[in-house]
């Protein structure tokens, strides 16, 4: 079973080779048939650069060798040599003979990974231009050098036949064996990050980890190709913690991207090539067509139908699909073509380059790549269904009209120039290398769009509304415009007590500052309610002993009360200091003065919250009261106390504290056979007391205590 799964894994890993082989079966059937005469030793002798592949050179021939016109036998070609590791590197271009030597001495290395396949693509050209930019502007001879390498690592390095590069491609093996920089920056294209991690050997990892500093830049040139975070984050983060995503398009250079991947995000706009700018009269009657298939599946619309319709309408305009041509040839075509149509991502080379050459390009708006300002351009169609008619209309109006043509072209050129320039890209690269990202990841609590949307849209409501949120707890929208998350089935009573029975509704003097102690805060409903109602509450202390409930209270307070105006503590205020680690059963029963209450508490705790280890911290109420008093020397105090347990202990502590002399109002539940002595304790100190019997059988009373006339419950 293990062997089978390994084979499956290998099949999956080399699936790209399978695709290439299948393609060659269709495109070059004779050459594939000719492979019956294949011999590894002859092939390697003819092509020494792939010597490391050994017997696997057969698959190299079938997948890539045929495309690269490699011979199966004969003397090696002297025109182009490749890295024949680990020894000397030779290259067809103009190469400074000291280049490799310099690489071995450098302090800092920028390593750009491009695709090690002899083909041409927008992303590859973009990487080549970044490599050139880094080499021209960010390499200084003593300290920093730029090097280009190739991915997948299993492929040999190569010399691109369809476009020129500023630097030769050097295999990562050679880099790891022959260079020893103190710091490295690895630029990896987004679609190859996971593969890079899969293919790095222990030697590669050792080389990377032995640098003093490693920065990794994920070149996100197409957000649709970004791998899922789970596919690569763990592996990448074992090599470095300094990871940044650079995006080619402003459209996805967003806070959301930073939050999704937990990495800094910064813009790195591609560089554009220099285009020959031909006038309207100099343009050829050619429509340049991108090789992409239709970007989206559209009912009854195909690329062929669109092109056929245009061809039928404008037979004099020759349609030229970009394929099998070198970059130089393509750029020449893009300059000369009167029109260009792109079927791919939209804001791509097939759109931009003809416009830079003063041509007209047509595309369909794609929200992933086009900034919203492009939507208003006359050469951008809103959808594929009308694209054929759209193109025909504009060609009709511009083919013989140079003014209209130039107007269409200039409008697009103006928008493009806002996005792309050497100065913009240089600035982007500087920010990237100097650690100045555009977006850094933000924690979830700062991303409460859900709360804000709900809060804004429900300001006008006057009644409760309850909504089951997909995540976390359901939400209650309160009559006073606040919203609270709560525990289903257990907290309706808290909401009822606060908003319907108004148990904690109190009158305060408007010109007096108050501090509220909400002891037994539960989900924070009372604190939120009082803060909303009384702007002269300067500060609120919330005490909720059960952490699960305290977390909800925290969320509710965050959403409804100014951050500077409250503090939540997960503590029980009692008559002694004790830190307990407990199971759902509470610890020292002597903490409660009434043992009878404890079984009730245990039962309700087990029923109301998941039965698991719960830690309850007790602190001496007197200490807490004195600390609060010292922190608010000018305020008067309001205390609401509603524990599962008995409030008598708290009253005893309160009566000894300095806070009592500025206590304005108190509401507390007490369990006492006869609360007379408690009532008298307050009355002799000048308070007025009202008493409600809540539960006769349990002797539960609610005491409401107030000092001044006009203040209290």
């Amino acid at each position: 079973m293990a062997g089978f799964s390994h084979k499956l894994k290998m099949l999956y890993r080399y699936r790209h080779i399978g695709v290439l082989i299948l393609r060659n079966i269709f495109l070059h059937p004779l050459k594939v048939l000719g492979a019956v005469r294949f011999r590894s030793d002859a092939y390697i002798q003819r092509n020494p650069d792939i010597a490391r592949l050994g017997k696997k050179s057969f698959f190299h021939y079938l997948s890539m060798g045929i495309n690269e016109n490699r011979k199966m036998r004969g003397a090696p070609s002297h025109k182009i040599k490749y890295v024949n590791q680990p020894s000397v590197f030779d290259w067809e271009g103009v190469l400074d003979p000291n280049y490799l030597q310099d690489l071995q001495k450098v302090d800092r290395l920028h390593v750009f990974f491009n695709i090690s396949r002899d083909m041409i693509g927008g992303g590859m050209l973009s990487i080549e231009r970044f490599t050139r930019l880094s080499n021209d502007f960010f390499s200084d001879n003593g300290n920093t050098k730029t090097i280009m390498s190739g991915l997948p690592l299993s492929c040999p390095p190569l010399h691109y036949s369809m476009f020129k590069t500023a630097l030769p491609m050097v295999h990562f093996d050679w880099i790891c064996t022959h260079t020893n920089p103190k710091e490295i920056v690895l630029f990896i294209p987004e679609g190859f990050v996971a593969q890079f991690l899969e293919e790095t050997s222990s030697a590669h990892i050792d080389w990377i980890l032995s640098r003093a500093h490693v920065k990794c830049v994920i070149l996100n040139q197409n957000n649709d190709l970004m791998p899922k975070p789970t596919d690569f984050r763990a592996g990448l983060e074992s090599l470095t913690k300094d990871i940044t995503i650079s995006t080619a398009h402003k459209r996805y250079c967003t806070q959301q991207l930073a939050n999704d991947y937990m990495y800094d995000v910064t813009l790195l706009t591609p560089l554009l090539p220099d285009m020959a700018q031909l006038s309207f009269e100099e343009k050829d009657d050619v429509i340049l067509v991108s090789p992409d298939p239709l970007a989206s599946h559209v009912e009854e619309t195909t690329k062929e139908k669109i092109l056929d319709q245009i061809a039928a309408r404008f037979p004099h305009l020759k349609q030229k699909v970009v394929e099998n041509m070198s970059l130089a040839k393509y750029l020449d075509l893009a300059s000369r073509a009167k029109y260009s149509i792109t079927f791919g991502e939209g804001l791509d080379g097939y759109f931009i380059e003809p416009v830079l050459a003063k041509g007209v390009a047509f595309s369909v708006f794609n929200g992933t790549f086009f900034p919203s300002s492009f939507r208003k351009l006359s050469s951008i169609c809103p959808d594929w269904e009308s694209f054929a008619d759209f193109v025909c209309y504009h060609i009709e109006h511009t083919d013989k009209n140079s003014l209209a043509y130039r107007s269409l072209s200039d409008a697009a050129a103006k928008e493009i120039s806002k996005l792309y320039s050497l100065e913009i890209t240089l600035s982007n690269m500087r920010n990237l290398l100097h650690g100045e990202p555009k977006f850094t990841p933000q924690p979830y609590l700062h991303r409460l769009e859900e709360f804000e949307d709900i809060k804004n849209s429900l300001r006008e409501t006057h009644g409760f509304r309850f909504i089951d949120a997909r995540r976390h707890n359901p939400i209650a929208f309160c009559p006073d415009g606040q919203f609270l998350r709560y525990f289903e089935n257990t907290d309706h009573s808290e909401l009822t007590r606060t908003y319907v029975w108004e148990d904690y509704d109190l009158k305060l003097k408007p010109n007096q500052t108050y501090v509220v102690l909400d002891i037994g805060a539960n989900i924070g409903a009372t604190s939120c309610y009082l803060n909303k109602k009384h702007p002269n509450i300067a500060f609120t202390y919330c005490y909720e002993a059960i952490w699960d409930i305290a977390k909800l209270a925290q969320m509710n307070l965050e959403a409804n009360v100014d951050r500077e105006k409250y503090l939540l503590k997960s503590l029980v205020l009692s008559d002694s200091y004790c830190a307990e680690h407990t199971s759902p059963i509470l610890g020292s029963s002597e903490i409660f003065s009434d043992r009878q209450i404890q079984p009730t508490f245990e039962t309700e705790t087990q029923a109301g919250t998941p039965s698991r280890r719960t830690e309850i911290n007790y602190v001496k109420a007197l200490d807490e009261f004195d600390e609060v008093f010292d922190s608010h020397l000018d305020a008067h105090f309001v205390i609401k106390h509603n524990y599962q347990g008995d409030g008598t202990v708290l009253i005893t502590e309160l009566l000894q504290s300095r806070l009592l002399k500025r206590l304005a109002a108190l509401v507390v539940k007490v369990h006492a056979e006869n609360p007379t002595s408690i009532i008298q304790s307050f009355e002799i100190r000048g308070f007025s007391v009202t008493v409600d019997l809540d539960e006769e059988t349990e002797n539960v009373y609610t005491l409401k205590v107030a000092r001044d006339v006009g203040v209290g419950w």
Binding site: S210, M262, Y444, N617
Partner: protein
């Protein structure tokens, strides 16, 4: 300029701290007055003399209560200094200094939190690196082995004077196992901070895989600015690390010159 009192807990194998431990104390003394307590009865006179040169106060007395026993004794002994300093730091000799501590203390000075430390660690956390706020949002800190790194605590004076802090240090006693020490004091203090709603700041705003300070991530954290490397990460005491040699090379390359040679000796 923050006036700092730095309580340093140490244990000298063979009666003398290692050279690099002396350098660590010297480095700390750049940022505040160091008061050291060595859990030794056999501290050599020359070692004691050298410590006295570096520290504002030195004590050597065997108690067997690990670092928290030393912290307790320092706390109790120097109560009279409470009003003399703006901040109180509790640290020990469990790490090698790699870089100077300037960046660490600069970060501390920018953070107004009454409690501050280099990072939050959860040795059982196996997820992707996560922002601390998100960690607290999604995971129950009271049901996990999560705590602020106990080898470097910074307490502002106002926090230092709080009753629960006093109670904490006064309640430290000899425990039967190292695990009990960790549970009651290392994690216990972190839990007290949360229960009392004390704002806490950290140098790193993320929680990393496992107890990263001891494993293959430890050297990566140094690359990101942490000025020290836990000794147990070097000895791979808790986690195997196939690439430890490469990572130690990286540490040597990053090290401040005054520590480089000593680190090379230690890593041998």
């Amino acid at each position: 300029m923050t006036n700092r009192c730095i309580y340093f807990a140490g244990y000298a194998y063979g009666g003398s701290p290692s050279q690099i431990d002396f350098e660590l104390i010297a480095e700390l003394s750049r940022f505040g007055d160091v008061y050291a307590w060595y859990d030794n009865d056999d501290l050599k006179p020359e070692a004691l003399a050298r410590l006295q040169n570096l520290c504002a106060g030195v004590h050597a007395e065997r108690h067997g209560e690990y670092d928290f026993g030393s912290y307790k004794r320092l706390y109790m002994h120097y109560k009279f200094l409470t009003e003399s300093y703006d901040e109180f730091i509790f640290t020990n000799d469990s790490a090698f200094p790699v870089k100077t501590f300037d960046a660490l203390f600069a970060s501390r000075d920018k953070d107004p939190s009454p409690f501050w430390c280099p990072l939050l660690i959860d040795q059982d956390y196996t997820g992707l690196d996560i922002l601390i706020d998100d960690y607290f949002m999604h995971l129950d800190r009271f049901n996990r082995n999560v705590m602020y790194l106990s080898s470097f605590w910074c307490l502002s004076k106002s926090l230092y004077k709080r009753a629960f802090v006093r109670n904490f240090f006064e309640s430290i006693k000899k425990e039967n196992t190292r695990l009990a020490v960790s549970e009651n004091y290392e994690r216990g203090f972190s839990r007290l901070l949360w229960k009392h709603g004390v704002p806490c700041g950290t140098f790193f705003n993320r929680v990393f895989l496992y107890s990263c300070i001891y494993n293959f991530n430890a050297t990566l954290l140094v690359s990101e600015g942490l000025p020290f490397l836990k000794k147990k990460a070097v000895t791979c005491e808790f986690y195997l690390n196939a690439h430890i040699s490469s990572q130690l090379q990286s540490i040597i390359r990053q090290s401040d010159p005054k520590f480089t040679n000593l680190l090379v000796e230690e890593f041998k």
